[in-house]
């Protein structure tokens, strides 16, 4: 009986192909919109998390001042010292690298070319902490690091801007007032999480920057701490905090005059923000799916009126009430399910095109596709029931007399 109802419904759809197609259009667009929004949202989230993890895995950044004062803030809070870096590296467990960093903007000159970039004064630990690899050359030697010699490692953007196609290794680059030798070129990392160019950077030994660029010998404005994989972030942060409070001679009642930032946490915050946006857009798209469902109900209601006589024939021939109900219900579900399938196809096509245009990966998410499909079928049941009920309860004599 169920099979024959399906057959009847499919025959009916085939009899009115054009109308059936137009009826499903609303659901097609609704499903396509939902899936496209969610898929693109997932792609965007992936891009962000990838970029954050390229910043360095399990990375903590410690700055003076309280968190609330914002990045670079800190007012009168004392900066760190090089000895703090050594203390953390030796006294805190499960760390991979601890790098002091001092950052300043400079103009770089090579021959006739000049370029404004960011200089990072740090140690070799910076490369480990930041997941940097070399494209050419080498990192700093121990002497360079300790004595603050004029050697630098440059990012890929700096290489492109100042050296073009030439080999930068061994070349002299003017950094503000002094010359330094390029000893290494970093492998490209691309755009950062906030859209900044991570490759637009010059790395110098910490003492070099302190002595020649910032002018205050022992201060360290921030410390990068990279944890080992699987390290307990909370525990490590607590260890560092205790150590720093002790070194900075804070008594029990004092608040921390430094703060530790967990980049993973930033990543999570960002992706949850994008997740919220995705949900929001998906919800807006879901409304259009609902409108599509109402479109189906509309057509089915019109169709019941238009087919009153036909329903009369079916009832006279001996169709039971629930058979007529089932036929109309299956028609509605078949229409919306077909709309759902077409919507999925349309969504995949538009996602491939859009993610290509937006430079994001195309992440096929089976769950949202399945969910949209079942939701569209459900809409068929919900909005098909009322017209089907009306058709089934027609009086055969009245229906046969209907013109």
């Amino acid at each position: 009986m169920f099979l024959s109802a399906i057959l009847l419904a499919l025959r009916e759809i085939r009899r009115n192909l054009m109308r059936s197609f137009l009826t499903t259009l609303g659901v097609v667009i609704g499903v396509a919109a939902v899936i496209t929004m969610v898929t693109l949202g997932n792609g965007a989230t992936r891009v962000i998390t990838d970029q954050i993890s390229s910043l360095g895995s399990n990375l903590l950044i410690m700055r003076p001042g309280q968190r609330m004062m914002g990045p670079g803030g800190g007012g009168g809070a004392p900066r760190f010292r090089v000895s703090d870096v050594e203390a953390i590296a030796t006294q805190v467990s499960s760390l991979r690298a601890v790098a002091p960093t001092t950052t300043t903007g400079v103009t770089l000159v090579v021959g006739g070319e000049n370029w404004t970039s960011t200089v990072n004064g740090t140690t070799n630990a910076f490369f480990t902490a930041g997941n940097w690899n070399l494209a050419a050359g080498r990192f700093f030697t121990e002497d360079e690091e300790r004595l603050g010699l004029a050697s630098c490692v440059i990012g890929n953007t700096v290489r492109e801007k100042l050296f073009g196609g030439q080999n930068p290794l061994g070349a002299q680059m003017r950094v503000r007032k002094f010359n330094c030798e390029v000893v290494g070129v970093l492998a490209s990392k691309g755009q950062g999480a906030m859209g900044q160019d991570q490759d637009d950077v010059v790395i110098l030994p910490l003492p070099t920057v302190q002595r020649r660029l910032t002018g205050n010998r022992k201060d360290v404005p921030s410390i990068m701490i990279s944890m080992q994989d699987g390290a307990e972030t909370e525990y490590v942060m607590e260890q560092i905090r205790t150590l720093m409070r002790e070194r900075r001679k804070l008594s029990d009642g004092d608040e921390d005059n430094f703060n530790i930032l967990d980049t993973k946490q930033i990543a999570e915050t960002l992706s949850s923000t994008i997740g919220t946006m995705t949900t929001l857009l998906g919800a807006v798209a879901a409304v259009s799916l609902l409108v599509g469902g109402i479109g189906i109900m509309n057509i089915m209601l019109v169709s019941v009126t238009e087919r009153t006589r036909e329903i009369g024939i079916r009832l006279a021939i001996g169709a039971l009430e629930h058979e007529v109900l089932l036929q109309f219900l299956i028609e509605a579900v078949a229409l919306s399910a077909f709309g759902g399938l077409s919507g999925i196809v349309l969504a995949i096509i538009s996602c491939v095109i859009l993610s290509g245009l937006m430079g994001m990966p195309f992440l096929f998410d089976p769950s949202i596709n399945l969910l949209s499909f079942f939701f569209s079928a459900l809409i068929g049941v919900l909005f098909g029931y009322m017209p089907a009920r009306r058709a089934a309860s027609l009086d055969p004599i009245e229906a046969l007399r209907h013109e």
């Binding site: 024939i313 079916r314 021939i317 001996g318 058979e323």
Partner: protein, 243 residues
């Protein structure tokens, strides 16, 4: 179809004091005022009468499309006047076939699919549906027209498809409501001859409403209705029907 063969002395259909009133109170209209008659298996009954005489109401009740307000309707000796919608639908599906004045075929649907429709509701398998529908179409002389839609068929052919649809389930009774009302006289006689043939060869009891004496002449018995009552009920000689 699965009803036991009734004893020979039980009429196929028996009306006992059937009355039907439409509406209530002031506007109540008594379409049938208590009629009684019985129909034996194999009869060819013509129901005649002016409009408003109650002949359509009788056909609706006979066809189990409607229920009487009072009185008893026995089908093969079983009371069916109080059956609910679905039970009546099952009875129609198993034992009754309908032919209408306006043909009432499904548009944009081939002749064969139209004929298959009652079999679909009976849950017959596809091969059986195809076989039975082709056989029924052959019986009404429409072999070779299986894939034509109603729009591609003449009125006479459409009515033949409708008859094929009515007999494809091998019903006991064929109810025809003015089957020739929309046809010219040549086609009308062809349809009547077909009904007579089905009545004789397949022992299908035919109940036909008509207002044309020419068509009533094909029947074996004519019942006249006037004002909701049986005015006359007469057997006809077979020879008369064929002349």
């Amino acid at each position: 179809m699965n009803a036991p063969e009734p004893a020979a002395n039980i009429p196929l259909i028996e009306f006992r004091n059937i009355a039907k009133t439409y509406g209530q109170g002031e506007i109540a209209f008594q379409a049938l005022r208590g009629i009684s008659f019985s129909i034996q298996r194999g009869e060819f009954l013509a129901v005649m009468g002016p409009s408003g005489s109650g002949k359509s109401t009788v056909m609706n009740i006979l066809g189990c499309l409607d229920t009487p307000t009072s009185g008893s309707y026995l089908f093969q000796g079983v009371h069916v006047e109080h059956l609910d919608r679905n039970a009546r639908a099952l009875l129609r599906r198993s034992h009754l076939g309908f032919v209408f004045q306006g043909f009432n075929l499904l548009a944009r649907t081939s002749a064969q699919e139209n004929v298959e429709l009652p079999l679909l509701y009976r849950g017959e398998p596809p091969e059986e549906r195809h076989r039975a529908s082709r056989e029924a179409l052959g019986l009404v002389g429409l072999s070779g027209w299986e894939h034509h839609t109603p729009a591609e068929l003449s009125g006479g052919q459409q009515q033949r498809v409708a008859i094929a649809r009515a007999i494809v389930t091998h019903p006991l009774v064929l109810l025809a409501d003015e089957p020739t009302g929309n046809l010219d006289s040549k086609r009308s006689h062809e349809i009547m001859e077909l009904l007579v043939r089905l009545n004789r060869e397949r022992r299908i009891t035919v109940l036909m409403v008509t207002h044309e004496p020419d068509m009533a002449r094909y029947s074996s018995r004519v019942v006249h209705f006037v004002d909701g009552l049986v005015a006359s009920d007469a057997e006809q000689q077979e020879e008369a029907a064929c002349s």
